[in-house]
């Protein structure tokens, strides 16, 4: 069991061990980087397949089923097609900016993925400020989006990139704050420490994940919504809203550059899901004590696949919001909720050493009640129904 759990760690150490001493650091870094790029790029391929298949089934279609068994080789065919497609740069486009943008859209995301632990002892770089580093790299993506929109010299691209940036900035606020709630609770910005803090089991069975606390549950949901927006997924996929601005900042891209943008988007999705798992769902930890025999990295990737399936499901169901509603939602709902979540955490921590009877229940009522009441109030405030009221239809005979 332990051997399987530490399989990749030991494998890496074995390979590093073959090299002379002064080479070892370099080799270790190269292996980690290659592993991250390789694993997540492979995951990207599988995800496109899952997404197309899932959407197909949701829409009562078979999805890709021609290339390979169950269409499993479809990502390969897609990639090949993207590679051999003509790469068009608009004549009046800013060539350098236009070309750099897709690269810049992928690189920071890969850097961000490096800090997420995927298993016990399996993290490429354990930064002291890993959480902030992750968010910072997410911020660099905005520059890439701007470069793509501006460099293409297309009104739709520019509009799309402006929308995308406005959306990303607005949702970065609740995203970072809901992440920081966890950092406050744990007292560290290192993602490894955050997973460490979620060790142990309630009653020896249920894991002590943050999502099982009132502030953690609220934070998780808020984080999930913000992450959906940050990763440009429905219902927040306005930047590429094809019915309005066609493909947004990616409009003028074709061939492999377009594929790179997609790679960036999906890797961003993995990053967001991975972070949500790390912050709230115990990272690579098992949910129940009796399931601990399953290797840690399997837990991480299992949770990641669950997230991907959830996002596909969401995409198959919901229409997208309008730009101003999106902003309204971010500033009038998400931000106050996240700030209140900080208060909820404070209440939770403050009452940690209460010695009244049923202390656990009271803590839940206090901290969770705050979030619930806030949710009810704010949701009523922004609900479109409040503005128009229910409809009654008359019928003429």
């Amino acid at each position: 069991m332990n051997a399987l759990d530490q399989l990749f760690v030991n494998l890496k150490q074995a390979i590093v061990g073959w090299f002379p001493g002064e080479w070892r650091l370099g080799v270790s870094v190269v292996i980690s980087a290659a592993a991250i790029v390789g694993v997540y790029a492979g995951l990207f391929a599988i995800t496109t397949w899952i997404e197309r298949k899932g959407l197909g089934r949701i829409q009562n279609r078979p999805g890709p089923n021609r290339v390979g068994p169950f269409g499993l080789l479809q990502p390969l065919a897609d990639g090949l097609k993207a590679l051999i497609k003509e790469d068009i740069i608009p004549q009046r486009a800013d060539r350098l900016v236009h070309t750099l943008a897709p690269i810049l859209a992928v690189v920071p995301v890969i850097l961000a993925l490096a800090v997420i632990p995927v298993g016990r002892n399996m993290v490429a770089v354990d930064l002291q400020a890993g959480l902030i580093f992750f968010f910072a790299m997410g911020g660099v993506k905005e520059i890439a989006v701007f470069m793509a929109g501006w460099g293409s010299r297309n009104a739709y691209s520019l509009l799309g990139s402006m929308r995308a940036i406005a959306q990303m900035i607005s949702y970065e606020m609740p995203l970072v704050l809901s992440g920081l709630v966890v950092a406050m609770a744990v007292g560290s910005l290192s993602l490894v420490d955050i997973i460490e803090a979620q060790a142990g089991y309630y009653g020896g069975v249920l894991a002590r994940w943050h999502v099982f606390t009132p502030w953690g549950l609220a934070g998780f949901l808020l984080f999930l919504v913000a992450a959906t927006a940050e990763a440009n997924r429905t219902p927040f996929d306005l930047p590429e809203g094809e019915s309005e601005i066609i493909a947004g900042h990616m409009l003028e891209y074709s061939g492999f550059k377009y594929a790179l943008f997609f790679l960036g988007e999906y890797m961003g999705l993995f990053g967001m899901s991975g972070l949500a798992i790390t912050l709230f769902l115990g990272g690579w930890r098992a949910p129940f004590s009796f399931l601990e025999w399953i290797p840690s990295w399997m837990w991480f990737f299992g949770k990641l696949f669950a997230f991907i399936a959830f996002f596909v499901w969401l995409r198959g169901t919901l229409p997208r919001l309008r730009a101003d509603q999106l902003m309204e939602f971010a500033w009038k709902f998400m931000l106050p909720m996240v700030l209140l979540d900080v208060v909820a955490l404070a209440l939770w921590q403050y009452t940690a050493h209460w010695s009244v009877p049923l202390a656990g229940l009271w803590r839940w009522v206090l901290s969770g009640g705050l979030m619930f009441v806030a949710y009810l109030g704010l949701a009523r405030l922004i609900s479109p129904r409040r503005r128009v009221g229910p409809r009654t239809y008359r019928f003429a005979e």
Binding site: G54, N60, R61, W313, L314, T317
Partner: protein
Amino acid sequence: MIETARNFVGSYYDPARFPTIQYPEERQPLPENSRSFPILIYDGEDPEAGLRCVACKICEKECPPQCIYIVVERDEKGRAKRHPAVFDLDISVCMGCQICVEVCPFDSIKMDVAFEKAGTDRFGRMLLHKQDLARPNEYFHQIHPTEAAQSDERVGKTKKAPKPKPKPAADAAAERQPSRLAA
């Protein structure tokens, strides 16, 4: 969300929720009335001699997009024979409306069901001549059995017996009773 999940699961076991047909391998049976493009019916073995068409040019006149082009065959003295020298049909113009079939008093032009007519040549491949259009009566029976039986009955009424060289008489009677109206 629940509704889409229901459809996701349903698509695996409920055929009503999974209407896709893997087209080139599987095909939906075409209903009998199905139509695609016109064909010319001939009796007997010889597609040239057995052609029912008498080059009356009614379909040419009635065709809304005017995709039919007919030249009457003439003998040495220049008299019109009851046979088309040229019968061209441009299926890039044809809209498959079936009006030629309805107006044809000789049960000669009918609708095919074959729809896979794609080709790489925009012009030559799409202009069909009478050799391309001619189909035996047995084929017609195959694709539209009910209609073919009715048509045979009418043709039998107007022609005493199928001869190698068709000589349809009493067009007037057929004209008064156009084929589709009796159906």
